[in-house]
């Protein structure tokens, strides 16, 4: 009898704690929506396309921040994707096993470095160099995109390599046996086989990049305008939150920041869910 009660108790408490993940995610959406409600009532969906952000006049528009998030992420992806795929090819097909092991571990370790370090490097080392090249103060979407690309590079390279590794050796060996070169094996066997895995990895990295705060806060410049060029100071959703959250002095200001946070959550949720459900499902099933 005693064991039966404890047994049930154990099962139900583990179930409850497992459900807490679902409750948390639900609460996340509900709370952000509630806090954003005044701004949603005041500006509606027009908030998304309004580009004026004037706290002193209680006018808030999210477009500069949304624009900044999107553009800096696109820049980051344009730089990081080819390099990450290059690294993955190098690691899975080219490098001798010991080099692949050493470099592979190094890349996985670099993926663990806190993102704020990338931000500090960007501010003190990259920005001055870019300033000399492009003029201005070296802060802006291009700098932020560049720092982001370096930050997601290890993560992206590691998961792309893992995806490539799922190609059965026998397929590659068959192609080599018919006299294919390495590039032909890659192009006609490996990449078609792991295509959805690679796309999924790239989108997953995109999801990380768009929500990243610390790597870009230092180098964005925090200016609430649509910049004339990508070399001019701008802002993004996480940067706005990080810089202005503790300064919000009116209710509408505070609520507009939550509106931005909600938009960011919806974007990243959609992106990550798409990566997972559309592209990565197959790999997971292959692994299980």
């Amino acid at each position: 009898m005693y064991y039966r009660i404890v047994d049930k108790l154990f099962e139900h408490s583990t179930r409850l704690l497992a459900l807490s993940v679902l409750i948390l995610l639900g609460a996340l959406f509900v709370v952000l929506f509630q806090e954003a409600k005044p701004a949603i009532d005041a500006f509606g969906l027009h908030f998304i396309v309004e580009s004026k952000w004037a706290p002193n006049m209680d006018i808030f528009g999210g477009w500069p921040a949304i624009y900044g998030s999107i553009v800096s992420t696109i820049i980051a992806m344009l730089i990081a994707t080819p390099v990450a795929i290059g690294i993955a090819i190098f690691l899975s097909e080219l490098a001798p096993p010991w080099v692949a092991a050493v470099v592979g571990s190094a890349i996985e370790l670099l993926a663990a470095i806190p993102s704020i370090i990338y931000g500090m490097w960007g501010l003190f080392y990259l920005a001055p160099i870019l300033r000399d090249i492009w003029g201005g103060n070296g802060l802006g979407l291009a700098t932020a995109g560049f720092v982001l690309s370096i930050m997601i590079l290890p993560f992206m390279a590691a998961i792309t390599r893992d995806a490539m590794k799922t190609t059965p050796d026998i397929l590659k060996e068959s192609a080599y046996g018919m006299g294919a070169t390495r590039w032909e094996v890659l192009k006609d066997v490996v990449i078609p086989y792991v295509k959805s895995g690679i796309i999924g990895s790239i989108i997953l990295a995109l999801g990380r990049a768009i929500g990243e705060t610390m790597a870009v806060t230092f180098v964005m410049g925090n200016v609430h305008k649509i910049p004339q060029t990508i070399f001019a100071p701008a802002t993004s959703i996480p940067v706005t939150l990080a810089n202005e959250f503790t300064e919000a002095d009116s209710d509408l200001y505070y609520s507009s920041l939550f509106y931005l946070a909600l938009i960011l959550l919806v974007i990243s949720f959609t992106v990550i869910a798409a990566a997972k459900f559309i592209f990565l499902r197959k790999i997971e099933e292959a692994r299980a």
């Binding site: 470095i113 806190p114 806060t217 959250f245 946070a261």
Partner: protein
């Protein structure tokens, strides 16, 4: 040029480009690591561990309060996040099953939570804890970090428990053991090493988070262990110091960055080492 040569040339071109990409990517990453080591070790001195933060220009100045605060936050988050994550992961693996509907849903949702923007978690905790309480607090920081930690611990526990062979469970059940005893005394023991590694890696992961702490635990210039009040952390201090115009503060920021990175990388290397020695057996 005949077809044969063109194929070989094409192959060489692509392979060279990939190698160059790998080289360039690694060069940047090692540049960052090199900068960190150079600036960090240059700024490191004994005062950092024994003296609290001081106004710019004043000597001696250190990071003792931030180190202590960071430790409290990370330990606090682990005390909440690890048991909750382990038990929730136990449900997924032992009760929910590999293909159970609810278990799969929870797995998917935690994977998404793992990549959720950390600053949004910070804003969430601000709304549910800081705003009602009226002030920033160490507890709010702990809750924010624990929320980040939960899905990571949950997924690694789930994965590690599933690696324990079913025959071990069946043997214990055949001896008449109730399920919770099977789990605690057989399954957990079988998965001990993997679970420990997962926990270690999740601690390393949250230790480097800044964004969720910016408006939860905030910062504090003084030594404090009171979790009801704002508390200093290494990461927020790095953010404040690196964006300040003061040379000595910036140097301290690099020292904090080095200490944090050494901790994070050390935990990662230790985790890998444990897994590897286990596999070797």
């Amino acid at each position: 040029m005949n077809r044969q040569n063109r194929r070989i040339l094409m192959n060489k071109v692509v392979m060279t480009l990939s190698s160059l990409a790998a080289l360039a990517g690694l060069a940047f990453l090692f540049w960052i690591l090199g900068v960190l080591l150079y600036k960090g070790f240059g700024a490191l001195h004994w005062d950092i561990f024994t003296v609290d933060m001081a106004p710019p220009g004043r000597e001696p100045s250190g990071l003792r309060n931030a180190l202590v605060g960071q430790l409290l936050l990370v330990v606090g988050a682990s005390v909440i996040g690890v048991p909750v994550g382990v038990l929730a992961g136990t449900y997924l693996s032992e009760y929910g099953g590999r293909h159970g509907k609810l278990a799969r849903l929870i797995r998917d949702i935690s994977d998404i939570m793992m990549s959720a923007p950390s600053i949004v978690i910070g804003a969430f905790v601000y709304a549910i804890m800081v705003a009602p309480m009226g002030h920033f607090s160490g507890w709010a920081g702990i809750v924010a970090l624990a929320i980040m930690m939960l899905p990571i611990v949950l997924r690694t526990t789930d994965d590690m428990l599933q690696l324990v062979p079913g025959s071990l469970r069946e043997a214990a059940i055949a001896l008449g053991a109730p399920k919770y005893k099977v789990i605690m005394q057989v399954v957990y023991r079988g998965a001990k090493v993997g679970m420990l590694t997962g926990i270690l890696l999740s601690i390393a992961r949250i230790a480097g988070e800044t964004a969720p702490l910016l408006f939860t635990s905030f910062s504090n210039n003084f030594y404090s262990t009171d979790l009801n009040h704002p508390i200093a952390s290494l990461t927020v201090t790095m953010f404040n110091y690196a964006t300040s115009p003061f040379e000595d503060w910036i140097d301290l920021g690099w020292a904090a960055a080095l200490i944090l990175t050494l901790f994070v990388l050390g935990s990662n290397i230790l985790g890998r080492y444990i897994i590897r020695t286990k596999k070797g057996k």
